[in-house]
Every structure is written in structure tokens, then in C-alpha cells.
Subunit: 455 residues, 2 copies
């Protein structure tokens, strides 16, 4: 693949400039005012993929944001790789914590900073440009299809129907995804496990209007106090989720599995230092790697109620709300967990308040086998570019649609991501190292080569 490598070397600065144009489109799927940006972003990508060498590329409508589909069929008898990625990004708040405009990317200290720099525009752009390099140099050894969606950050609601309707079009031997991280540049890894997700919103209503906290304080249930009590009660002193039935389907690792699992390098002091925290906190009896890799969790993602402006206001709010999500592990089913959550939350709410519980989105956990040809090909490609054999890694994150691909399309996914923890995806000042971008670009053509050759 020397030709592709040379092509990349000669064009890589242009690739970064083009990525900047992609990052400038504020394609925030969670906020409806960005609807026109979603369309614009999809059109940008379809045009870019044709330019890169695709035989066809289309912006295909769904009931939500469009899907970009593109393909190049080099030989009907060759293996087919379906590249999946997403062009939607997370909201940017707290906006004031960004050092620069989230949608005006900059390079600082060798890192591209901007919303989506890693997740997932930076990572999907490596695929578009590696594809261009292989096309331009006539070295593409597999058929390639692209499926880039615009709703990953809000649960991929309409991609499931899209897959059902286009089974034939999407037929492939493997789905190749770069939307995950490695342990570090010195310890490359391939993600073999993803947690599932059940995302809920709750609203607690007390009195039908805000009340004066002096005249009523002490006699009327305050929904903010009640919400705090209900939320606090979801986790016990041992850090375990208290929802009845929550752990019923969780597979416990065997002692041997636990031992193997904890062999991955982990420096607790460096971890705490990198987050500026005095201590870690989680389920008793498990290591930090286990807590994020193979154990479920429950987090408040947002909480609000009452007066949150400057100064003081002596009010008992009428309502208080929280967004609460749970990360799930094999074999938990997000639909069952969402139901258990709702039932429990309603059951523990006191008669002094009314509660509303809504499931906002969810996804299944996923496990990738390490003995499939695509895994072996990725292992070889990464070993060649990083100089080290990658470790299998169980990420705490979720890509709900990955388990959907398996059940709808019957195709496994290979999670070959080049992100790092320091990329701060979903946070202010998201960034992506130029070294990560270039290393990914270099690795992808090798993956195609080894995958095409694999038994």
C-alpha cells in the first residue's frame, strides 16, 4: 500500500482543511433549530464522497435526519466493507467554557479543536480520505459502502427503519466503525464491548404554582427536595442501583475473566489527576476498569428546578426535573430497564407530589468477537502502524445502533476507533490530535488490505 501511503502524505494538509469545512457546519441533532444544518451537512458529505471516488452517493431521506449513502463496487466477488459513521454532533453548552468558537475549528498544540473534531466528523473523515487515497492510487482491494447518519447522538431513531428498508443495498461482510477510543497512543486497542443505554427524563410536580418558601416552607412537599431524595435513593451506599430487577440479567465475569480484564494498563493516580478529582467513586467490589467496562451505571445528566438566576429568591418551585441515564451491559435490555425504572420511580414517589417519567432513548449493549477476520485484520493493521499489538478493550460508551445492525442486517461491526480520553468528546473544547488523524488515515488502507486477504 505504499502508493496510498504516499498519496496521503502528499495530501494530508488538504484533508485537514476539508475537515475544517465539515466542522464548521453546526449539525447539532438534539436542537431542532439546527434542522437545516443537518441537510447541509449530509449534502456536503455526499458531494465529498463522489469527489473521493464513489460510483454513487445519495442523501437519502428518513422520517428524521437524512442518511448519506455512497458506494464503490470494485469487484462483485470481493469482500465488502460498510463504513458507518455519524455527522451529527452534541450540543455545545456550557458554551462559555469553550476557549474558541466550537464551530470555527483551530489547531493548537497539534490538536484540532471544535465540536465534532473527534466525535464523529474527524473519525469519519479519515475513512473518506483513506478511501480517496485508495481510489486515486487504484489500490482499493474491497467493495466499499458508506452509511453516515445524522441522529447518533439522539438515539439513531430512524436508522433502524432505514436498515430494514435497505437490507439489500447495505449487504456487506463487515461494518467498519471509527467512533470509539483507544487506551492511549502507546497502548492501542480495539473496542470489543459497548454498554447499552436507557435515557429517562423525570418531572416531579408539587403545588400547582411556585410558592413563597416562608409562608409554606415546612408544610408542603418541595419538588426539588423530593427529586433530590428520589434521585439519591436510586443508588445505595455501595454504589449499586436500587431499582428492583436492575441486575437480574447482568452476567457476572468469572474470576479468570476478571483477572484477564484487569490486565489492561491503568494508572489510578494519573486517572484522578487527569480529571482533577480527589477520589474515584463507584460500585463497591469492582475496579475502575470493571465499573466502566462490564458493570452498569446510573448518572444524572441534568437536573433543574426553581430559581437558578443571580441572587436569591425564596421560592418553593412547582416543578423539578432531571435527565437520568443508565449504561447497560450484556445481557440487559434497555426496554426492560426503562420499564423497571419507570415502575420503581413511580412506586417510591410520595403522595405529596405527582411524577412523570419518560424514556427518551435507548440501545442494547454489544460484544464483538475477537476471532472474526475483520478483528484479525484490524489487529494486524494497527500493529503495523503503532508498532504494538492492540489490546481488546471494553468501553463504557454506547453506540446503540451497533447491536441494531446485528439484529436487522445480520452483520457484525468492527470498532476501530482512534479517539483518546483527552479528546473530551461531548465536553467543551472537544479536540482530536493531528497524530491520531494521520495514524488513522495510515491504518485504514492496511485494514482493507488484510481484510481482503483474510481467510
Amino acid at each position: 500500500m505504499t502508493e496510498a501511503k504516499n498519496y496521503i502524505e502528499a495530501n494530508k494538509e488538504r484533508f485537514v482543511n476539508e475537515l475544517f469545512d465539515l466542522l464548521r457546519i453546526p449539525s447539532i441533532s438534539a436542537q431542532s433549530e439546527h434542522r437545516p444544518d443537518m441537510q447541509r451537512c449530509a449534502e456536503f458529505l455526499a458531494a465529498a464522497l463522489v469527489e473521493a471516488g464513489a460510483d454513487r452517493a445519495e442523501v437519502m431521506p428518513t422520517a428524521g435526519n437524512p442518511v448519506v449513502y455512497a458506494e464503490k463496487i470494485v469487484d462483485p466477488s470481493a469482500r465488502t466493507v460498510l463504513v458507518y459513521g455519524h455527522y451529527d454532533v452534541m450540543p455545545v453548552d456550557p458554551r462559555e467554557e469553550w476557549h474558541t468558537d466550537p464551530f470555527e475549528p483551530v489547531i493548537e498544540n497539534g490538536r484540532i479543536r471544535g465540536r465534532g473534531a473527534d466525535d464523529d466528523k474527524g473519525q469519519l473523515w479519515m475513512h473518506a480520505k483513506a478511501f480517496e487515497a485508495m481510489c486515486a492510487t487504484g489500490t482499493l482491494p474491497c467493495n466499499v459502502k458508506f452509511m453516515l447518519e445524522g441522529e447518533e447522538e439522539i438515539g439513531s431513531e430512524h436508522l433502524y427503519d432505514f436498515c430494514r428498508e435497505h437490507r439489500q443495498l447495505l449487504a456487506a461482510d463487515i461494518i467498519l466503525v471509527s467512533d470509539t477510543s483507544m487506551i492511549s497512543m502507546d497502548t492501542p486497542s480495539i473496542t470489543c464491548g459497548l454498554r447499552g443505554l436507557a435515557y429517562m427524563e423525570v418531572e416531579v410536580t408539587g403545588p400547582d404554582k411556585d410558592l413563597h418558601s416562608g409562608l409554606f416552607g415546612g408544610a408542603v412537599a418541595n419538588p426539588a427536595n423530593v427529586l433530590a431524595r428520589l434521585v439519591a435513593g436510586l443508588i445505595d451506599r455501595d454504589g449499586r442501583v436500587t431499582i428492583p430487577g436492575f441486575y437480574d440479567d447482568v452476567r457476572e465475569l468469572t474470576p479468570a475473566e476478571r483477572e484477564a480484564f484487569n490486565r489492561a494498563p491503568f494508572d489510578a493516580e494519573a486517572y484522578k489527576r487527569s480529571l482533577s478529582i480527589g477520589d474515584v467513586e463507584g460500585e463497591a467490589g469492582y475496579t475502575t476498569l470493571e465499573r466502566t467496562g462490564v458493570r452498569p451505571s446510573l448518572d444524572v445528566n441534568g437536573i433543574w428546578g426553581g430559581y437558578i438566576g443571580e441572587g436569591t429568591k425564596t421560592v418553593i418551585p412547582s416543578k423539578a426535573s432531571a435527565k437520568i441515564s443508565m449504561r447497560l451491559v450484556p445481557n440487559q435490555d434497555y426496554r426492560k430497564i426503562s420499564e423497571l425504572f419507570e415502575k420503581h420511580f413511580r412506586a417510591v414517589a410520595p403522595a405529596s407530589v405527582k411524577v412523570e417519567v419518560r424514556a427518551l432513548h435507548g440501545g442494547m449493549p454489544y460484544v464483538a468477537p475477537t476471532d472474526m477476520p475483520a478483528y484479525k485484520a484490524a489487529e494486524k493493521a494497527i500493529e503495523e502502524t503503532f508498532g504494538k499489538k492492540p489490546l481488546p478493550f471494553y468501553s463504557g460508551g454506547s453506540i446503540p445502533v451497533i447491536s441494531g445492525f446485528e439484529s436487522i442486517l445480520g452483520i457484525k461491526s468492527l470498532l476501530m476507533g482512534f479517539g483518546l480520553a483527552e479528546d473530551a468528546i461531548h465536553s467543551p473544547n472537544e479536540s482530536y490530535g493531528l497524530d491520531q488523524f494521520y495514524r488513522g488515515l495510515e491504518t485504514i488502507p492496511l485494514f482493507y488490505k488484510y481484510f481482503a486477504e483474510a481467510e
Copy 2:
């Protein structure tokens, strides 16, 4: 006092129109962008009091918002009444719950709706206009002084120094205040007790940036979860505040006092219905009247952290905050309680987070004797206009500065308020009944008469 009564009858519609002009000034003391409105409001009042008959009226600067001082000395040997009120109002959020513009008053169903309609512009305007009626008809039997401040809703910080600097100017026999409520129009009452207030703000910080809840969830303390836990822990299952030492100075009523206290009319079903709540909630072993009248309480006035926008964001917030206030009863000292709160909150916070605790403002509880001449005069005046002898009432609210007046000026206060629970002060759609406004107008000259005559 027939002359004053006739004057009021002939001019009362004009009085309401003038009040509307006062209500149109958005004098929100908690929000610094309204600083110019505070000055404007003070000047409006000073001019109005001169027009009403004051010998002098001044807008007197303080280190914060100005104080309006005015006086009319009819006879140096007569009794002197110092009228206290406040021209600042509460913030208006949640703005969307108002049926009309909070600063464009309207009359609907016989009620004036707008921010400050009752608290305290509507109530202080009764004093200004009753004063005008007595001046215009030559029936003012006492010397009158007005002291109208602009920081009551944010703790009256600068009024204490103002009182210290102007002891001579403010010399009086009683401070007359209409900033409280009655039980109902059928059960008039005079407020004899006010709770104190300690208002705190807490901030819990976990990681130094927002984190992805998938990659870190379960392993890192989530400040929103920790805040919920800490807030929930401030009140136990019996509804008692758990801060060590919190109840040390609370005086328990004797069985006889409790019995007398609970003789005030109270309809639990009507109370629940009026607030649309399924049940009341509070300290075990006490009635609703006791819970707001003679027992301290703790309420979350605001809570916020993480993503609170539309849709979902899978984030572990870096910070979460709450505004928490405690209502205090005799003999609790807000300074001691604020310290106990801070010490406790820091002590129970886990090593996985950092906490900041700030006291925002505070005030002492107050008890007015029912055997002082001003109380007797108010009792007689109200009996005459309402047709019923008013009950002594212990309000759950706080007017921190009232106990300050006693310690600095050595003058007792008489809390003759004409508000009602349905006025919804501090809430959206605050209102004040025209019948309350007119009844107050009619009662005030009678109070002056009986107070001037009292032994």
C-alpha cells in the same frame, strides 16, 4: 374619621391608577440590570409622598439601592408612626407562566395582577394614599415618617447601616408595616411572629470538565448525583433537619400554647385543594400551622447542573449547584445556623468532590407582643372595618429587617398586612384584590386614630 373615609371613597379609582404606574417600574433588586429602575422607582415614590402631603421627602443613597425617606410632623408632642415598606420586587421567572406581562398590570375578576401588586407596592401604596386622605382632610392625628427601601427581597443589606446612621431621624413610637398576610377576609389576623432566614448557595464540583457519561459513568463521582445525595440527607425520614445543633435553640411550645396555637381556623382539605397537592408533608408530630408558624424548615429554592436543554446529552456535569434556605424560629440565630450548615455540608461531602458553601443572606426571627398600644389600636381598627376581632397569627415568612429595627432603633414593629395566600406573592401571576386594597385604605386612618388616643 368620616372625612378621610369620604375622601378615599371619592378618589379610590385614581389611587389604583397611580398604583399601576408604580407597578410598571420593573424594580427587581436581585438582578443587577435593573439598577436604574431602582432609582427611578425611589424617585417616583418621593415625588408621590410630597404630593400626598409630606413636609419633606428624599431619595437617600446607600451603598446599595436608595431609601425613600419622607415625613410630616403635625405636633412634636404627638405620637410618631414610622411606616416601613419596600419598593423592590421579586424576579418574574418562570416568565412563561404569567398570563399577562408582569410589569403591565391589569384588573381581572376584581384583582390587580402584576409583580409587586401585593408585595409590597400594593401594600405600601395603601399607606401613601391613606396618608394623603388624612392630610387632605386635616385629620392626621400622629406624626408620620416613611422609610421605603429597595433591598428587602435580597436581605436588606444596606438598611441596617442606614438605620444606624439615622437613629435620630427615624425616632418613632412604632414601626407600621404592611408586608404580611391575613388568614382570610373572613378571619382577619395580625402577624405576631415571623420566621428568620438563612439562605445558602452550594456548589459541588467533580471532574474539572464535563465528561462523557458512557466512558466515565460508574467510576467517577457525578456532582449532580452527589448533590442530590447531600441535599436529600439534610432532612431525615421524620422531616427533621439533620444538621447537628440545628434545633438546639428552638423553643418548644408548652402543651397549652400548642393547643391555643392550633385554635386558628384551618381546613386541611381546602389547603390541599388550593395547591393541587395530594398530601401535605413536613416534620412528624406537628400540624401544618405549627410547621409554618413555630417550626424551622429547610427548602431547596433552586437546583441546577448538567444538560437542561431539549433532548438528550450523555454527560457527567463538572458542577452542580443549589440554593437552599432555612426558615428559623425564636431563638435561632441565622449566623449560627449558617455556620452549622456550612460545617455540616463540608463534613458530609465525599472525597470524590469539592464543595463550596456561601451564605447569601439571613435575618432573625421576630415576635411582637400583643399587649402593646399599637397592637391594641390595630385590633380595634380591623374589628371596625372587618366586623371581626383579628386573631394573632404566626406567619412562616421572614422580614429579616424587623428584628434589626428592634436591635438598632429600639422600636417594635406592628405587622398589619392585608395580603392573602391567594395573592401568590413571589409566584407567577401575583395579584392583590381590590377589596383588600380598599379595606386596607379604610383601616389605616382608624389605626392612626386609635393609636393617637391609646394610653
